[in-house]
Subunit: 403 residues, 4 copies
């Protein structure tokens, strides 16, 4: 995979891989210090400017379908681009490809009514609206649907929502929220919940707080909120997809969503790797020798290279299998990339911190920000442990089953 | 080691292990939220109150010698106490046992002139003065003495210091600084530097910035600063210890200092373990079963128990060897505890974060603060790699030598 | 722990630690090549000669009680000796301290009738008899008592045994066998089985085969057999301990038994460590530099030193807790040493093989023999996984319980 | 990668992937017990019969070029086949694709004179001759060419060889040996040695011993020998390739050779995985529940699946890079597969042994044979450590270099 950028020029995207990488280095990396320093307003202004420029270059919305204003690129190309954009925590945002909007775009595109698409989808793709997704609840295991306590009960021709959510990424300042709520508490387990679009100004919708994560409350796009739904009423037209289809849609959202996460993590890992390598060759350990001359430092490089390359290849193979067998037929590879890439990223980040020593602990580089925030990779969208069980159960069927 | 507190009642300390633990839970844990939220002034006020109470109970300064106002406890007792105080990032501070003051107290006690003791030592032990220690430099490997660029040159009967330091813990608001500077650039490697006491108001002493570490600038006691010495003149009476004795003194300071660090980390690990275990038994995964019923969660508990118990035993054995053979004769066990305990802590913290899931990422518990700040354990006072080399070189002598 | 032999001179044992180590090197190590080459008859003759000499020196049976002919040493001393004897796979055998005889001696001493002691115990301690222990069954999980299928049914005043056992260590050529068999299939789970002494010539007792383990069938002491009991009748006097007491006695046998195993493994690890270190300093990698000058090799040394020292300290602390709280009260430390020491040994052996390279794969050193046979440490007497669950269940009780 | 066999039908090979797998299970797996039991003559007879059958089916020599009697398959296809054949330690041998003959075939094909090809190559491909390769020496690091002590000095128009070699795989009963010897001790480092073809009956060629490896001396194809060259004279026509070209040729031999090794290891890992999974679903742990229901067992499955899939994908990507950039241009990926796949295999084997428990230690399955013999994967053809350094040095050039 040595220099995978050298021979990659994505069809339908106006920049070559090298150009995109250079663009990020020049236009986006300089804004990162504002992020780790919590200077969110300056950051928002800086990013807004870059976004205008990205639109002007025709590189906007590479993950969105063509018919709603995106570039309509194949999933493999999206994956490659994601690994480049992921080199900065601001990369996806700068190009209109950020979570959770990107996944909400997929949802609305696949399941929205014409009216919903008109009202929410176009503005989302255009970057004029911001959205969030509210599934996880503070008191319950995120990965277990039977534990959800947010309820939506029918009220005339509408629905009234009550309950608490948290880790609603980007909810702060969002225009609307896609919420999962139980609509049939006694139905079959995976048919209990439905999705709703709740505009953030709806009475009964309350933004409780930005949850402080690893020392940062963050703001706007880069924050995670706790939300309350207190007798929050929406009309029937606000249900997204069929009644009882909540988990199914969330699952559909998660399949390619995991490809996007994982490829972004490959990008994060590449960035940490670059920071580490640059330090190893420049750090003098005495006698004119760089830290890179030490064998344990060389081991960090080699093991990280292997971690990153196996990650990238495993994701690309998962894309191949999703395209060949569908999301359902590719459950093992999808779980496998979530497991492997998140862990590989964790190892790469840890080696980079160790390689930088005291400097790695400081916010003088972006590494410390990545180290503490991307630890979440092994937790959200199902922790490692859930994915191990998924893989094992499916694999063991070939041998007669786990139970 | 199961419940090591049950049968430990330290001689010469007014609280039993259980009482001390309970005291921390009641008086100190509640202040921690102020720390992770960066509310430093409220925190300072709260801690000041606790310190008064600790003094009133006769529990103040357990790590300091008796003749200067400390409790004069044996090193083993200090180690045990350190593992309890370490359960809170505020524990040592609350009891007048915090780094870097504790180590500076040892230095001044062993090497200070009567005048230095009078002026700096008593106030330090009494908690009326705060100090810092400035050795590491931004451009150079902290563990390599030949790379130091801060210079102190003779000027009449005094010295003029020029150079940069960083990671001077607690320098913000400190009264004086113990600084290492090169006094003989062409001398034998370990005889090139000397230590100086520099009052923080001295002209030419400049507090450049609190270095932002993992998202926190911190303040006061809980911060790490970059300092500049710009033609900073001190009198001959400000040299601490003999000329050229800098590394020797720093080394003497580091030996028992590592015992203190490592036992504090044992305490940090116990705290994370408690947070993890409490979560595992209370977190429902459906069907009335707690997360603790899952075998992978049980593995976290078992492996963490082993990590902590081996850490504690290894430190206690190192104390035994320091007492039997001196710091120099105990170089292997001292390096071994730094290596093993820092890594064990890292593993325990990581498992605890994974066990808490999304909650573990938030600042709703103290875990996230510990996770990101105590990552430094594997870096400062020599990174893992330096200690591995130290152990190997000494051990291999028994077999004929590494080189 | 650096050179723990230096200051250890066991009370009641005629050789100092250094002398014992030297004795093994001179008299026992030279016989090991016969073991790995499968030259069992020559080996038996050589060992017999050493055993005579050990008896002559008054060093025989250091693990056995004094009243039946052993040295009657305290458990801590036994543990220290075990770590020295364990440096050779022949060490315990040479000194009359080998499994499974040592544990059977404990059983007979604690639970045998005077007649049983007379007939079996004295000869066992004296090394005139050899015994085996048959619990594990080929078709069933060794660690689950409810799965045992060997049955002993009453027949007049005697018992008739039917069933299969395997991994009966040293059964080949043994004089008698201690067998666990179900005597009350519907009783309370841990009261279903009893122990029986079955002389190997009893009709219906059949030695099926020596099970080939990692390429070796072995012979005599150094072998593991499959046994069949086919209508095998013994008199009432052959039951060992109370009816239904099988698991209780086996558990009692396993408690200190685990201390013995673990300390033997510490010895195995020290041996591998010595072989590794000797190689690292003598292996030239060019330019007159030894392999030991490479940092990854130094990491092997340091990490192995930590693995061994933490193992030794954890076992000694478990002994302290067994003596303070009894086997039952020390379940966590007993499980912890089984888990930690077996894994630590595995890591040390693996590093040693890697350090020796091609030579490590060959039988030119004893390392390859240890590497493949001591892999069993993580499996027998309960695999790692069982011990992790045991530790977690007990620990979590402090927090409210795992279930 | 879930069931990669399902959609793979290699062009130019008469069996589909499924058919080949089934063929091995039916015809080759049954012979494996003879291998682990050391019944080499019966084994040889059994394999000979299978080889006839394989030839009759037109599946012979899938790794050899077409013009000398092989199937002439592309490297990617060879890699896929290798992963299937590797499921048995006898697979490659049964199909005429075994090391070291396969690599010697490549050497002779690329560098042999017409006479050498006539005399050695055709017979080797046809399976009528057996060869070995002698490079490693007992006293010297195999990976350092400057340390070689076997000398070939000119003697009239021929050469006289003196020196010792070991780990000459399959030398026992071989017809000829390809030997590396120094021909110009003072030349440039990588130009000092040349290759020679030495028929095994040549005076001065001595087969010293089969080296016992992990308890097995082995025999014939499945053995590793120590060889001595004592004034061993060969004519000028026995030099293979140019004078001084020894290392270059060995390197050329090692490039695709590593692909072959690594894909064979993928097959070994798949076999261990299958044995593990079959055991997990069939092993009852009580209450009618299989071992597979335990979460730690599920972790073994998931982590092994990831280990194997990342291994396969990394090798296939290395093939792509070798084809695109040549062996020299693909040094990083070639080193990366050697590092990653050997380690992944090690982990998979270890988990399988643990999953099988006591059974895994026995030779009742082929697992124990694989566990002890394939440990060599991390050692031969350069140990892990050498490959880490190679990767790091090349990677760090992008950042300015390691030195």
């Amino acid at each position: 995979m040595q220099d995978p950028l050298a021979d990659f020029s994505p069809h339908g995207f106006p920049l070559s891989a090298k150009e995109l990488t250079a663009y990020l280095e020049t236009h986006v990396f300089p804004l990162e210090a504002l992020l780790s320093a919590g200077r969110h307003e300056e950051l928002a202004a800086g990013i807004a400017e870059v976004r205008q420029d990205v639109k002007a270059r025709g590189a906007w919305a590479p993950m969105a379908p063509r018919d709603v204003g995106g570039l309509g690129l194949p999933l493999t190309t999206q994956a490659h681009l994601g690994a480049i954009l992921g080199r900065s925590p601001l990369g996806h945002h700068a190009f209109g490809a950020q979570a959770p909007d990107a996944a909400n775009i997929e949802l609305l595109h696949a399941f929205g009514t014409p009216a919903q698409k008109e009202q929410y989808l176009r503005g989302l793709v255009a970057g004029e609206l911001r959205s969030c997704f509210a599934m996880t609840e503070p008191g319950h295991a995120g990965s277990n649907p039977t534990e959800m306590s947010t309820i939506a009960r029918r009220d005339g021709d509408g629905w009234v929502l009550d309950g608490s959510k948290w880790f609603a990424t980007s909810a702060h300042g969002a225009d609307f929220c896609v919420v999962m709520a139980v609509t049939n508490p006694t139905g079959p387990v995976y048919g209990r919940a439905s999705l709703f679009i709740v505009p953030c100004g709806t009475p009964g919708f309350r933004h409780v707080r930005r949850v402080s994560v690893m020392g940062d409350e963050g703001a706007g796009y880069a924050s995670h909120s706790e939300l309350a739904f207190e007798g929050c009423r929406v009309s029937a037209e606000h249900r997204l997809g069929p009644e009882g289809g909540g988990f199914l849609l969330a699952q559909a959202r998660l399949g390619p969503g995991r490809v996007h996460h994982c490829m972004r993590w490959v990008g994060v890992a590449e960035r940490c790797y670059d920071i580490m390598c640059a330090r190893l060759v420049s750090r003098d350990i005495g006698g004119g020798k760089p830290l890179a001359s030490r064998q344990l430092a060389q081991a960090w490089v080699a093991e990280s290279r292997v971690d990153i390359d196996t990650s990238r290849l495993l994701v690309l193979d998962a894309v191949r299998q999703i395209e060949a067998h569908g999301t359902e037929g590719a459950r093992v590879p999808i779980a496998a990339i979530k497991l492997h890439v998140a862990r590989a990223l964790d190892r790469v980040m840890d080696r980079a911190v160790q390689a930088l020593g005291a400097l790695g602990m400081t916010d003088d580089t972006i590494l410390a920000y990545l180290y503490r925030h991307e630890r979440a990779a092994r937790i959200y969208d199902g922790p490692d442990e859930v994915h191990m069980t998924t893989i094992a159960r499916h694999e063991l069927r070939r041998f007669g089953g786990a139970k």
